[in-house]
């Protein structure tokens, strides 16, 4: 039987796309808490099957890695994106910058579910439908 944790090609993954709200720089915020919850819930599934992508809107000030949850750099250092300087990501996707959202994208690039930023239980329930927990 193939070893799912190391033999899979680099595609075929689920992606959790988190569109944070503008409160990201506050450590107690919904955005920060959600990012930590998402990192935690991915641990229940086979490694490398779920990838995180994180997009942020215009924020009140300049920031460094120290100003945001450590999980961002650990899980999504090269997939952490400014969503306003180029395309207006939030406008295109229909998401408010004050509310944010969490999107699960299937391996075929189709959207599976869109949850409010503060409801990671929807995200977890969806993933459990698709992927075996370890």
């Amino acid at each position: 039987m193939a070893n799912g944790t190391t033999d899979l090609p680099s595609t075929g993954r689920f992606r959790i796309l988190t569109l944070t709200s503008s409160d990201l720089l506050d450590p107690e915020s919904t955005s920060a808490t959600t990012l930590n919850k998402i990192s935690a819930l991915t641990q229940a599934f086979p490694q490398a099957i779920i990838e995180q992508i994180i997009v942020y809107p215009r924020l009140p000030r300049e920031f460094s890695w120290d100003d945001i949850p450590a999980n961002v750099k650990i899980h999504a250092e090269m997939r952490f994106y400014n969503g306003y300087d180029l395309d207006d990501t939030y406008k295109i996707y229909g998401v408010s910058t004050s509310q944010g959202a969490v999107v699960v994208v299937r391996p075929d690039g189709y959207v599976g579910v869109v949850a409010p930023l503060d409801d990671t239980s929807m995200v977890e329930a969806y993933l459990r439908t698709c992927i075996r927990v370890m």
Binding site: T11, L17, D85, I92, P107, V113, V114, R128, R132
Partner: protein
């Protein structure tokens, strides 16, 4: 041919997950895997829509414009049919019906919907539709990227 490519792409990941023991019931071969069943739910509905559409579209070439709408298509219908046809040809108009992999309402509408607007073809998020590509700027190094860059090949 585009449609068959999409059929394959839809099935491929579901099969791969099941074969590699990643889908929820894969460890018990006696239980039919619900994820595999979604292939038919999703792609059959798309195929049926295409057949229905082709039937209508072919009248464009054989029929004539008829304002009464009795034996041909009205101008409004023609525009609608053409618009829909582009959605099929490009694959961008596909919207899968709700099923276990396409979830639009978890809690009977109690949870507030974070999506504003309904212009899905222009990119508004909709479960069952493809994620539209957007151009983003990576924080780590300032590189301009397509959000799809991370989705379809290794970063």
């Amino acid at each position: 041919m585009n449609v068959s490519m999409m059929d394959s792409y839809n099935l491929a990941w579901k099969l791969a997950y099941w074969i590699n023991g990643l889908s929820p019931t894969a460890s018990n071969g006696n239980i039919p895997e619900p994820v595999l069943k979604t292939y038919e739910i999703e792609r059959r509905s798309n195929a049926q829509q295409l057949i229905d559409f082709d039937r209508k579209f072919s009248t464009l070439f054989s029929g004539h414009f008829d304002d009464q709408g009795e034996s041909g298509l009205s101008h409004e219908e023609f525009i609608q049919v053409f618009y829909t046809g582009n959605g099929f040809s490009s694959g961008c108009g596909v919207e899968y019906p709700e099923n276990i992999l396409v979830v639009r309402d978890f809690t009977g509408g109690i949870v507030s919907n974070p999506i504003q607007g309904e212009d899905y073809l222009s990119g508004v998020l909709r479960p069952g539709r493809r994620l539209l590509n957007v151009k983003v700027k990576r924080y780590a190094d300032g590189w301009h990227r397509d959000i799809q860059d991370g989705l379809s090949r290794a970063p």
